[in-house]
């Protein structure tokens, strides 16, 4: 049974190639040491899922992050893009701040590099390798679930 105080929130579409990295990673975690949620994409109501958490890790595929992945601390941002029905994780934090009148819990974004996003495709061979590496990283994070320890890791992952 996972700890409800630590949330790992992965988003992406399993039928769009490497966009399925985050849902695949959550399948591997299976609630081990954390509460796992997944969705196709982030939306405003996900701000309600952050309530009463000690730590939150968002996981997403990225076309532009360093290979194989990058961990970054998030801050609420008045993200004015809101370009589609999806919003950014920082914008979700800002919505949390507006809704609850308080700062959100420490939140991080694990971006895993993806290359191919075609409808009907599975994960690419390169993404499968990165998936394993990301799994190791999450195991390490969950072994030491505190913001100070996770902050240390953020500095390492750009060149991991």
């Amino acid at each position: 049974m996972g700890s409800p105080r630590i949330l790992v929130f992965g988003y992406g579409n399993p039928s769009r190639g490497d966009d399925g990295l985050a849902p695949a990673l959550l399948d591997l975690l299976d609630g081990n040491g954390c509460d796992c949620l997944t969705d196709f994409q982030l939306q405003v109501e996900h701000a309600l899922d952050l309530k009463d958490r000690e730590l939150v890790l968002f996981v997403d595929a990225s076309v532009s992050c360093p290979t194989p992945f990058q961990l970054a601390r998030l801050a609420p941002a008045r993200d004015p893009s809101y370009t589609t029905h999806a919003v950014s994780p920082s914008a979700v934090l800002e919505v949390y701040r507006r809704l609850h009148g308080e700062q959100p819990p420490p939140c991080y974004l694990l971006s895993i590099r993806g290359d191919r996003f075609e409808l009907g495709e599975g994960l690419s061979p390169a993404a499968l390798v990165r998936l394993e590496q990301a799994q190791d990283l999450i195991a390490r994070l969950l072994a030491e679930p505190c913001a100070a320890a996770w902050d240390e890791v953020t500095g390492e992952t750009a060149v991991a």
């Binding site: 988003y11 992406g12 579409n13 399993p14 039928s15 769009r16 490497d18 966009d19 949620l37 997944t38 969705d39 196709f40 994409q41 939306q43 405003v44 109501e45 701000a47 309600l48 997403d60 595929a61 990225s62 076309v63 532009s64 992050c65 941002a77 008045r78 993200d79 004015p80 893009s81 809101y82 370009t83 589609t84 029905h85 999806a86 919003v87 950014s88 914008a91 800002e94 919505v95 507006r98 809704l99 971006s111 993806g114 996003f117 409808l119 009907g120």
Partner: protein
């Protein structure tokens, strides 16, 4: 009405303005304008620039996978695809009528989906335009500003959306990728505990839905002359309809009416849709252009979605939504309402209907029944049609003797509105942009018109950093005159 702006007679010397992608819609769309030297609009088009290949994604799969598989076509309306596919697959397994419990569970899920989708569209995507104005600064015109300046409205919007998601989760057992509907019925029964959990908040949900109907009614009527003409044009309307003429979003016959409200066809068995609707291909868009066969390509295009459903139905079966519809009818003065922005009003009336129907379904004793699946004799073909939040959605499959899908045809809601969205773009371009110096605010008028239709142009891929907006002004010689960009993070640069 604005057909003359679809294709310019002599495009070579014209300036080209591109809005790419259109923002606050799902997926990737692009608007191009061709302007002459004096900025007069000569051509305006909404292009769909991503080819999705849904049919190819489906063909070659065993039919029983489809209700789960097709949810992945779209991150916004997976439940609509799930249920349309399930209805088609019901026919393939020889089932024409579900058990009362199974049908009501599907309806509950569908009304939850429509409630959350309509709430998202109104509060997140539309209120920034409606509350702050179309020419408000782009950096301010968003949901965070709504939460800041209208916190009560914003919070209720978030909670309405969340409640609809909870209905889906409780019925399907999962937030996404659920397998609630299966061939011939439903996978799991609702428990008394589930029902009580959803009933706990339904009073608030109905009350908030009533408030938002009143909000949009007041917003619309506060500037009625402007809203009436913004992106307005006469059209035909298509929707499902219940046997007795009531608004129907889960199952019914097809009804089409013309711009004067005259019935073109009625209570058509949707399995015969190919006799009534055809699709045209145009070289400049990946999205097809459906039309009513009887009226032909030029005159047979139509609108679907909340406005079409409100214009087409004889009444709404829940009292509060019916009262709201009466006010809407009064505004229309006995004629179908044609304004694109009236989609918002119609959408919120449907939101209220969804909330009332969810309550009624939860109090219905059948909802806790255990008889969930019916079996029948295998057939080679199935057609499933549903009123998705954005409009009529068609799934049509043919299956071989090995249970493999050999043919698939999908007409998604947004495709049905393709010509209408193009008309809206042309109407706005002709009325508000013609001869003007273009600004971001003016160009947002085009996007406001498109957003009224809540288009879902693509699937759920949303990898980080992929959603810039770029406006380019190119002179007659093809040289770049001006460029405005908005990054995925919202920074605007010239």
């Amino acid at each position: 009405m604005y057909e003359h702006l679809e294709t310019a007679a002599h495009p070579e010397p014209l300036k080209r303005v591109v809005i790419d992608p259109v923002t606050r819609v799902e997926g990737h769309g692009k608007v191009t304008l061709l302007l002459d030297e004096a900025n007069h609009v000569k051509q305006a088009r909404l292009h769909i620039v991503e080819f999705r290949g849904f049919e190819r994604f489906i063909q070659g799969r065993p039919y029983w996978e489809l209700p789960v598989l097709v949810q992945r076509l779209c991150g916004i309306c997976p439940v609509s695809h799930h249920l349309a596919a399930a209805k088609a697959v019901d026919q393939i397994v020889g089932v024409d009528r579900l058990t009362p419990t199974a049908e009501k569970l599907r309806r509950l899920m569908h009304f939850g989906q429509t409630l959350q989708s309509h709430a998202l569209h109104f509060f997140h995507l539309s209120t920034p335009d409606l509350l702050f104005g179309f020419e408000d600064a782009a950096a301010h015109r968003n949901i965070v500003s709504v939460l800041q300046e209208y916190p009560d409205t914003g919070l209720k919007g978030v909670k309405l959306r969340k409640y609809g998601q909870e209905v889906i989760r409780v019925v399907s057992g999962k937030r996404v990728h659920g397998s609630a509907a299966i061939p011939g019925g439903m996978n799991k029964a609702l428990t008394g505990e589930d029902r009580d959990y959803l009933l706990k908040d339904i009073g608030d949900i109905i009350a908030w839905s009533q408030e938002v109907v009143e909000l949009i009614r007041k917003l619309f009527l506060s500037n009625a002359e402007y809203h009436q003409h913004f992106g307005a044009f006469p059209s035909n309307f298509l929707s499902l309809i219940r046997d007795d003429g009531a608004l129907e979003i889960y199952h019914g016959g097809l009804r089409a009416r013309d711009s004067g409200g005259n019935t073109l066809f009625d209570h058509v068995d949707y399995r015969d849709y190919t006799q009534y609707l055809h699709e045209e291909v145009k070289s400049w868009s990946y999205m097809k252009f459906p039309y009513i066969v009887e009226l032909g390509r030029e005159n047979g295009w139509y609108r679907v979605g909340p406005l079409a459903r409100l214009n087409n139905c004889g009444f709404i079966s829940t009292p509060l939504a019916e009262a709201a519809r009466q006010a809407f009818l009064e505004y229309g003065g006995g004629q179908p309402v044609q304004a694109s922005l009236a989609f918002h009003w119609a959408r919120m009336i449907e939101l209220l209907h969804c909330a009332e129907t969810i309550r009624d379904l939860l109090y219905d004793p059948d909802i806790l029944g255990k008889d969930l699946v019916v079996k029948g004799e295998r057939r080679p073909e199935g057609v499933g049609v549903i009123e998705a939040p954005r409009g009529t959605l068609f799934h049509h499959y043919q299956v071989d003797e090995n249970d493999i899908v050999t043919q698939a045809n999908l007409i998604v809601s947004t495709t049905n509105n393709n010509q209408a969205m193009n008309e809206a773009v042309r109407a706005v371009a002709a009325r508000y942009l013609d001869g003007k110096e273009l600004t971001e605010g003016l160009l947002n008028h085009l996007e406001v018109a498109i957003r009224a239709y809540d288009p879902c142009l693509s699937c759920a891929t949303h990898a980080l950093g992929k959603m810039p907006l770029e406006l380019e002004l190119v002179d007659a010689g093809g040289s770049l005159v001006d460029r405005l960009t908005r990054s995925g993070h919202g920074e605007i640069a010239r």
